[in-house]
């Protein structure tokens, strides 16, 4: 009967592969279709906008620009969402100002998508252009720590320790801008009801965020709008904040009093957030025997001119290895672009990339094997926070990864062709294991089927499946008896799905509500069976949909007949475990990679990737492995492929499509092996589970970079690492 720990297939799998899963753009109501016209300059203002030809075009129902934004959207309107960084959020059509190239400047609503798209081209816009800083490099001198949150406290005396170190390195690492590119483009479908209320189907990682935004901007409270999001076709952080299609479709629906749908094009998917370009400066020093003595990590990141987007980047360098003398600095500089946005393992992936490259460089300077170097500098408490970890089985990851990969004998692993150089690299990865408050409700029907509701999301991660597994085990019923429902503002509150905390937060709440149900049904049973009034709860068990006491069994459905419906509708709000305060929770991994580099042509290939993770209790090894594979593929893409190419003369992304923005394809992916080591954790949350949605991408780019060095003797201190970087290094 145990589901937890089983490779349970996705409960929503059949719906997905038969096309029955309804994503935000799959709603079948008769919609008007909205298409956005985007600015072609990055900075300045609109001096004239002529929409007459577009208005006259067949099928056009309405056009919205800064010229006709309803007055009520201008005064005392709150455009923030729960994850707005400091600054002023982007306000579509608010005035004539252009803040970035690709900014939505007009919305055309028409009977068909094609009509709207073409009519948008008939709008004539004239601009007054201003000079601007188009990139991080262009605007480094305006980088400031004042705009960024303060990193973890410095400790010890970095300068002195660095000076006294036997081996030191000072290195700069650069990462280019990356875009999320989920398979499903952002979309919002708004149904306009006869009473003026709305049902909004949004692509979002948490419906509460959409609701908060709609309430702030349009004054639509939960009484007038319901936000739903049954399925999300990948988001990776791009759905953490409501994106502009929500504003557009809602504005049009309210003004035209009609259903409106807006689906972004792939090119438009490059017109909002992204993982920012950053530059890291690393200074590390160690003793002769490889003990880390001094570490300084400074990062400068790009943000927009209107919001100060920040990530936790440099803190990771204060966390991963034992070091008494640490200096951490973080600065932001504005560029003429939209605000960056959290992307899978935000901050961690960037900070750990620089740290793990630098650690490899220092180990090399000291003449110590990179794995040995990491073991020497292992730390078993959180130095930033001065707290113990809830659990940390990283040493076991190192040992198992070393064994599976064959790290010790790696140099004589296999023969290669004469022009191919082979190299091996490794890195440590880590991600937070947080728990947020979450609420759920549970009810059982006459057939003994349980409906559990929570406003959380399933962004492809497996929420439906994992929650069903947890509930089935806790209730002692088969998984078919569980109906888990999510993505609806009518359901109990949930944290946004992100931060790898959904299993930890919602899963713990599900476990608790099931526990409450068992107490409740035991009470009803005792109430109606006077013989058993004195039975202790501990002496009862729950299996196969039945309450068991001694040799007697009582079906839940039978007991239910003696109760009111209300009695079997149970709500529960779960607070984070005490261990979340007293301890630091992190998941860890070790990643090892093999690369080949063509010494004449510079072509880099990755024949083998091995990741061994410690992430507490793994609820579903199938979906967990799935997440690791996905994040490792992306790590490879980040290392070798992906680059948002912004032409700084125009502030414009020049490769806003899948042909030229290179995500890794099947042919790029060879052997990937993932494993989990046993990690017991009774502090992180009641389930002892840590999320794995982000862990696998952390450290991977560094491991590939380190392997390229091993193969070629060249350090390519930038991402992505392209064949010309090899040839020119």
């Amino acid at each position: 009967m145990l589901n937890i720990g089983n490779k349970q297939k996705r409960v929503d799998g059949p719906q997905k592969v038969t096309g029955k899963a309804t994503y935000a753009a799959d709603i079948a109501s008769p919609f008007y279709h909205a298409y956005v016209l985007q600015s072609t300059i990055a900075c300045g203002s609109i001096t004239a906008i002529d929409t007459s030809a577009a208005e006259a075009f067949e099928g056009v129902k309405g056009i919205f620009t800064h010229k006709n934004l309803p007055e009520r959207l201008k005064n005392k309107v709150d455009y923030t969402d729960p994850l707005s960084p400091p600054g002023k959020p982007f306000r579509p059509f608010y005035n004539d100002k252009i803040l970035y190239n690709g900014q939505p400047i007009a919305l055309v609503v028409a009977q068909t998508f094609e009509q709207a798209r073409y009519a948008s081209k008939l709008i004539k816009v004239t601009y007054e252009e201003k000079k601007f800083k188009g990139s991080l490099s262009d605007n480094l001198k305006n980088a400031s720590a004042d705009r960024a949150p303060e990193p973890a406290s410095n400790r010890g005396d970095f300068k002195k320790a660095f000076k006294n170190s036997d081996y030191t390195i000072i290195r700069e690492y650069r990462q280019s801008r990356n875009y999320h590119n989920p398979m499903e483009p952002h979309a919002t479908s708004v149904e306009y009801k006869s009473d003026g209320s709305l049902v909004v189907y949004d692509k979002i990682q948490g419906v509460a965020s959409s609701l908060k935004y709609l309430n702030g901007v349009f004054g639509l409270g939960a009484d007038r709008v319901q936000v739903k999001s049954d399925f999300v076709g990948g988001a990776f952080g791009s759905g953490l904040r409501p994106q502009y299609q929500l504003f557009m479709a809602t504005l049009a629906a309210l003004e035209l009093k009609h259903n409106v749908q807006m689906v972004m094009t792939r090119a438009q998917m490059f017109s909002f957030g992204y993982r920012p370009e950053v530059i890291h400066t690393m200074k590390l020093g160690c003793s002769k025997d490889g003990i880390l003595k001094a570490l300084s990590h400074k990062t400068v990141g790009e943000t927009s001119t209107f919001e100060d987007f920040n990530e936790t980047i440099v803190d990771w360098s204060g966390l991963l290895y034992k070091c008494d003398n640490v200096n951490l600095e973080y600065e932001l500089t504005p560029v003429q672009s939209y605000t960056p946005l959290d992307m899978r393992a935000p901050g961690g992936v960037s900070g750990v990339y620089a740290l793990e490259c630098a650690i490899d460089e220092l180990a090399h300077e000291a003449g110590i094997d990179p794995l040995e170097f990491r073991r020497k500098n292992y730390v078993d408490y959180d130095q930033n926070e001065d707290k113990p970890f809830t659990s940390k089985e990283l040493m076991a990851c190192y040992a198992r990864c070393e064994e599976v990969f064959g790290w010790k004998n790696r140099k004589d692993l296999s023969k290669t062709e004469p022009h191919l150089l082979k190299g091996y690299g490794m890195a440590t990865g880590s991600w937070e294991a947080l728990q947020q408050p979450a609420s759920v409700s549970l009810s059982m029907n006459e057939e003994g089927t349980f409906t559990i509701k929570c406003a959380t999301a399933d962004i492809g991660t497996g929420t439906y499946t994992v929650m069903s597994q947890i509930a089935a085990d806790k209730l002692g019923v088969s998984i078919e008896k569980i109906k888990f429902m999510l993505g609806d503002t009518a359901f109990p509150d949930s944290p946004i799905e992100g931060g790898s905390w959904t299993v930890s937060s919602v899963g713990s709440a599900v476990a608790s509500v099931c526990e409450k149900f068992k107490y409740r049904i035991a009470d009803i049973w005792k109430r109606n069976n006077p013989d058993y009034q004195a039975v202790a709860f501990e002496d009862i068990s729950f299996q196969k949909g039945k309450l068991e006491y001694g040799s007697k069994t009582f079906a839940f459905t039978e007991i239910m007949q003696q109760a009111s419906k209300e009695e079997l509708s149970i709500a529960h709000s779960e607070s984070p475990a005490a261990g979340q305060n007293t301890h630091s929770g992190y998941a860890h991994c070790c990643v090892m990679v093999e690369v080949t580099v063509d010494k004449d042509l510079g072509i880099i290939k990755v024949p083998r990737l091995v990741n061994v993770s410690a992430a507490g209790k793994i609820i579903n090894p199938k979906t967990a492995e799935n997440q690791l594979l996905g994040s490792m593929v992306w790590g490879l893409g980040m290392a070798l492929r992906e680059e948002g190419m912004v032409d700084t003369r125009y502030g414009r992304v020049m490769n806003a499509n899948f042909a030229e923005y290179h995500i890794a394809v099947n042919a790029d992916i060879h052997d990937i092996h993932t494993e989990f080591v046993e990690e017991k954790d009774d502090k992180v949350n009641p389930l002892g589970a840590k999320g794995v949605g982000e862990l696998g991408i952390v450290g991977l780019a560094a491991a590939i970079s380190n392997a390229i060095f091993d193969a070629t003797g060249k350090r390519l201190r930038k991402l992505p690492m392209l064949l010309d970087d090899v040839l020119e290094a």
Binding site: E114, K121, L601, R652, H662, L723
Partner: protein, 325 residues
């Protein structure tokens, strides 16, 4: 997408002399429809040639006649192409994705347009798309751009893989012009940009490619198509080399080297090839050929690496052709 007239042509339309002059020809549509969505191409009228009788591959003593409407996939997997012209098979399969190859036609492949970022973005200056507006690529992102035969007005490349193999094979293109079939040697089909980069090729309005004629010699013994790109599939060539050799007692009896990703057309110099006839098939000679073939190559910043890369690629391709795996 701008509204347009759509006509599906029949063989009668052609024999009646219906002119193709005023229409844009639609075959597989894998490039044209994309460009229409982007607003790069805004034809008033589309002539769909999908039903015209050019969808066969015919064998003869003189070689293979590839219909213009045969798909890239059907061409690559045709038995005679696989056995006699393996360099063509390899080049086609190195291109695009299987979905695109199933749809794209041979004629359309020849006439596909450049993948220059600035050509594709209608908000950008581009002499090819809008003559006289300037070239944003020369001082912009030009990592994928040309190093040979460029002009001050355009540094775009021709993106086809198939064409590079066809250039190496010295194929001929059959064109229906005013009711007559004319034959154009492959190296005269495409152009260098000069001061008219808006013209990709030497066809006249109303011309229709009907067939590609492959010569009898297919270099099935010594061949290679080497494509160097930013990922292992679904990426255009940074540099590609179609290499064909005939070797007799260690000496070069015939040699063909065509380059992709480096110019506005597949780059091939017959006079350079001829210099090596009779010489030893050695790495040294291949290096020397590579030097001569790319003489005058000029980078524009981010594509400077192509100059050394293409030399390495030529030598590798010829060595691979010499010893096919």
């Amino acid at each position: 997408m701008k509204p347009f007239q759509y006509t599906r042509l029949s063989t009668e339309d052609l024999s009646l002399g219906t002119t193709l002059r005023d229409s844009t020809i639609l075959a597989g549509g894998t490039n044209l429809v994309d460009l229409m969505k982007y607003g790069v191409e805004e034809p008033d009228s589309l002539a769909d040639i999908g039903k015209l009788p050019y969808a066969q591959i015919e064998e003869s003593d003189k070689g293979l006649l590839l219909g213009a409407l045969v798909t890239n996939a059907d061409t690559a997997y045709h038995a005679a192409v696989k056995s006699t012209y393996p360099v063509l098979n390899k080049a086609i399969l190195a291109a695009a994705s299987s979905q695109l190859r199933n749809r794209a036609t041979n004629g359309g492949n020849l006439l596909q347009r450049t993948r220059c970022y600035y050509f594709y973005d209608t908000t950008m200056p581009c002499n090819k798309r809008e003559p006289g507006t300037g070239c944003a690529a020369i001082k912009g992102f030009n990592r994928i751009h040309a190093i040979l035969g460029t002009s001050a007005s355009c540094i775009a490349t021709h993106p086809s893989d198939m064409c590079v193999a066809l250039a190496a094979l010295e194929a001929k293109v059959h064109v229906l012009r005013k009711g007559e079939t004319i034959v154009i040697p492959f190296d005269q089909l495409h152009r260098l940009p000069g001061d008219q980069p808006e013209k990709d090729h030497n066809l006249e309005p109303g011309d229709l490619i009907t067939h590609i004629q492959l010569p009898a010699e297919g270099f099935s013994e010594h061949f290679e198509y080497l494509k160097i790109r930013d990922r292992e599939s679904y990426a255009f060539a940074l540099v590609s080399v179609a290499a064909c050799l005939k070797v007799s007692q260690g000496k070069i009896a015939d040699i063909r080297v065509a380059l992709g990703g480096v110019a506005h057309k597949p780059w091939k110099l017959k006079e350079v090839e001829k210099d090596f006839f009779g010489k030893e098939a050695s790495t040294e000679n291949f290096q020397s050929l590579a030097e001569q073939l790319i003489q005058g190559a000029q980078g524009f910043g981010t594509n400077d690496f192509k100059i050394s890369l293409v030399k390495g690629a030529i030598v590798r391709a010829l060595n691979n052709a010499l010893n096919p795996s």
